[in-house]
């Protein structure tokens, strides 16, 4: 079994409004899976169903090939977008409590608390209350609370929102480290740069439907529109009309060229007549651009 999680034709309605409409996706083991989509698209609903916080109206979810059941809670670590801690509770007790709630025995939970707090170098904070900690400290505690029971599947909803850059970097490294240990991660986020940096695979949801699904490389390849960037220096008074000027202030001009059935060599032969070619490169859209384009396309449908 190579998928840790399989979602099959999942639907959820709030009254007449669909939050999820026949969504299916597979999360491969040991990969970082990006779940993208604008606000209100249905990401949180999907995540809540996987976490057994709410029930789906129809469809099935398989974890390691088994139908979702209460004992799976122990396999999943969840960092919600809306998160918090008991302000009046001591750090150590709080982590112990969350670990035990996830199903760890008292002795195991104690060991884990110790090792994580040592790792994050915050063991001396164990007797402090959350309200006495800085926000960055509390964020670290929050992350430990998510991973303390050694989940096989980590679900992070906007993990970087509210984190300062230092902690965001720390969390990012932790995520990659966990991935190396074989943990599968579902990352729901708006931050496209972290998607491209971290994710192996993405799925996009818009207006309760899945609109895109695949590995990052595949998606970018598929989203190519046969467009090339041409950089050249020369006499450009009457360049072909299908060349679209992009920029041109640094001693050269940059054009966007649509192939329109021609081969790249044919385009280059034509270009040579206009000057010295400095660069010729295929345009591969970024995930961010694909995201925006997809949202626009599906909004019009």
């Amino acid at each position: 079994m190579s998928n840790i999680l399989e979602v099959q034709s999942l639907s959820k309605y709030y009254g007449d409004k669909a939050a999820l409409n026949d969504v299916s996706l597979d999360v491969p083991k040991g990969q970082v899976f990006g779940l993208l989509g604008p606000n209100g698209a249905g990401k949180t609903t999907l995540i809540r169903i996987i976490n057994q916080i709410i029930d789906a109206d129809s469809g099935t979810i398989l974890v390691n090939g088994e139908k979702l059941k209460p004992s799976h809670i122990k396999l999943i670590g969840y960092l919600p977008e809306e998160r918090g801690l008991y302000k009046k509770m001591k750090v150590g007790e709080q982590l112990l409590y969350f670990a035990q709630l996830k199903g760890l025995s008292y002795a195991d939970a104690k060991k884990k608390v110790r090792s994580w707090m040592d790792k994050m170098e915050i063991w001396e904070w164990r007797e402090k209350r959350i309200e006495d900690l800085s926000k960055g400290m509390a964020q670290k505690i929050q992350f430990i609370a998510t991973v303390i029971h050694q989940p096989n599947l980590l679900i992070l909803d906007e993990p970087f929102s509210g984190f300062d850059p230092v902690n965001a970097e720390l969390i990012k490294n932790e995520i990659l480290e966990l991935k190396d240990k074989g943990v599968s991660v579902i990352l729901s986020t708006h931050r496209m740069e972290s998607v491209e940096l971290l994710c192996d695979h993405i799925a996009m949801i818009n207006k309760s439907r899945k609109v895109l699904d695949g590995s990052i490389a595949d998606i970018r390849q598929q989203s190519k529109t046969n467009q090339y960037h041409l950089k050249l220096r020369g006499h450009l008074a009457d360049h072909p009309s299908n060349w679209q000027r992009v920029e041109g202030n640094f001693g050269y001009e940059k054009f966007l060229i649509q192939l329109n059935g021609h081969s790249t060599n044919q385009v280059l032969e034509e270009a040579i007549q206009f000057g010295d070619i400095l660069g010729f490169e295929e345009v591969i859209p970024s995930i961010g651009e694909i995201f925006i384009q997809r949202v626009k396309d599906t909004d019009h449908e």
């Binding site: 919600p80 809306e82 998160r83 409590y97």
Partner: protein, 436 residues
């Protein structure tokens, strides 16, 4: 099950370990007796220091020789009504009693003048005094010797004895039963409100600090809700137990102290046989109260109390949890408090107006059967002794009642805790109940 226990443990320890809990637990049993003692002391010292209140009597027919009592002295100086009123206004007299020449068969037209509103007790005292005087005069007029009349006066004290099925006779005393029903009923009422509010605050805290989503990804909302209700209830029971222990310790200390003083009675008796007799009379009353208290089946009463204490708390606790889940801040909770407050107030007033007055009336029966009022109302009946069938019926309904409210509240709770920033009204709540 294990997870519910974890929640119970957390809720319990988080509260019991607070300093405020320790303070409230230790001070409350001291505060109430202290306040009571203070009031008594103030009242006593006021009575002692108070100058005698003089009431001017204008007796047109000259036949009422009223005897002054400890607090009031009557002055007879043949002034007329206007003069007496002036004396009251100038502060020379506390009040003026005007008795016109009256028909003894139909004494009308008696007026009391005073600067301030007279107290009920004062008017009542004057009425009793005058009534007795008129009776005396009328008896005298019909030819009976006043000495005979004085000899005929007697104090009556009825001893009430109930016969139970076992054929045993038990002495009852309405005062003692009233007091017990009153105290236990009020305790349950207060317990429900104080700890119900803590449930609500706790739910709101988890919701507003956004910890809730982490929690419900680890356990079912229903487990979280029941764990919280039971944990906070356990805090209440702990506090209550400590109070019982403290109060009984303090009262046995106090009793011991007064017990030491008892020999004084004998000394008093030697010096003044009259005073000795008076004390004997009063200890006779005390003895009767003691007898009544001893006759009450305390084990049964305490068990009944604990059952309704817990049952009532669980019934309303679920509602408090649901309210907390439906709102974002405590101030939003006001609008939903109505359905909780009203039945509790009905039970509270029902206890005073109907149940304690007549524990076996129809309305008392229903108040003690309906689960929303029974925890408070039944205590009023239980102190007098209640038929087994009524008790069993009421307890059965209370169990069904709290299972029902917990089920209903659970539906509201599991949706409410995840809803933020939406204005929730009763219609929304109903929709949640239907969809969940």
């Amino acid at each position: 099950m294990n997870k519910i226990f974890l929640v119970i443990k957390r809720e319990y320890l988080a509260r019991v370990k607070k300093k405020s809990f320790l303070l409230a637990t230790l001070l409350t049993p001291l505060v109430f007796p202290t306040i009571l003692g203070l009031f008594l002391w103030i009242a006593m010292s006021e009575r002692e220091s108070e100058s005698l209140r003089i009431i001017e009597v204008i007796d047109e027919s000259n036949q009422f020789r009223l005897e002054s009592s400890g607090q009031y002295a009557f002055s007879f100086s043949d002034r007329d009504r206007e003069e007496a009123k002036e004396m009251v206004k100038s502060g020379e007299r506390y009040g003026a009693l005007y008795i016109p020449p009256i028909d003894l068969e139909k004494p009308l037209g008696i007026v009391y003048y005073s600067e301030k509103n007279p107290s009920m007790t004062l008017i009542g005292n004057l009425e009793t005094t005058l009534k007795r005087k008129i009776e005396e005069i009328r008896l005298y007029n019909s030819g009976i010797d006043p000495e005979v009349i004085a000899g005929l006066r007697t104090n009556v004290n009825i001893r009430a004895i109930t016969l139970d099925n076992a054929g045993e006779e038990k002495m009852t005393n309405a005062m003692v039963n009233y007091g017990l029903g009153f105290i236990t009923g009020i305790l349950i009422y207060m317990f429900i409100f104080i700890y119900g509010n803590q449930i609500m605050q706790g739910v709101i805290e988890e919701k507003s600090s956004r910890i809730i989503e982490i929690l419900v990804s680890s356990l079912r909302p229903f487990q979280l809700m029941t764990g919280k209700i039971i944990g906070i209830g356990a805090v209440g029971l702990t506090q209550f137990l400590i109070w019982i222990i403290l109060i009984s310790a303090i009262s046995s200390l106090v009793m011991g102290y007064f017990g030491m003083q008892m020999p004084q009675q004998q000394a008093l008796e030697l010096a003044n046989p009259e005073a000795g007799k008076m004390i004997e009379g009063s200890t006779g009353d005390m003895g009767q109260y003691m007898q009544v208290i001893q006759d009450i089946n305390f084990v049964k009463l305490v068990l009944t109390f604990i059952f309704y204490f817990i049952g009532g708390y669980l019934l309303y606790g679920a509602f408090f949890a649901a309210i907390g889940a439906a709102v974002d801040t405590p101030s939003d909770a006001q609008q939903f408090m109505f359905p909780v407050t009203i039945p509790l107030l009905v039970a509270y007033f029902g206890l005073f107006i109907f149940v304690l007055d007549d524990p076996n009336s129809n309305i008392s029966f229903w108040l003690s059967i309906i689960p929303f009022t029974s925890p408070i109302a039944m205590m009023g009946r239980a102190s007098y002794g209640v038929p087994f069938f009524d008790l069993a019926l009421s307890m059965g309904f209370l169990i069904i009642g709290f299972l029902f409210t917990t089920w209903l509240a659970g539906k509201i709770y599991r949706i409410g805790i995840l809803v933020h920033g939406t204005k929730v009204n009763y219609r929304t709540l109903w929709r949640w109940v239907k969809t969940a």
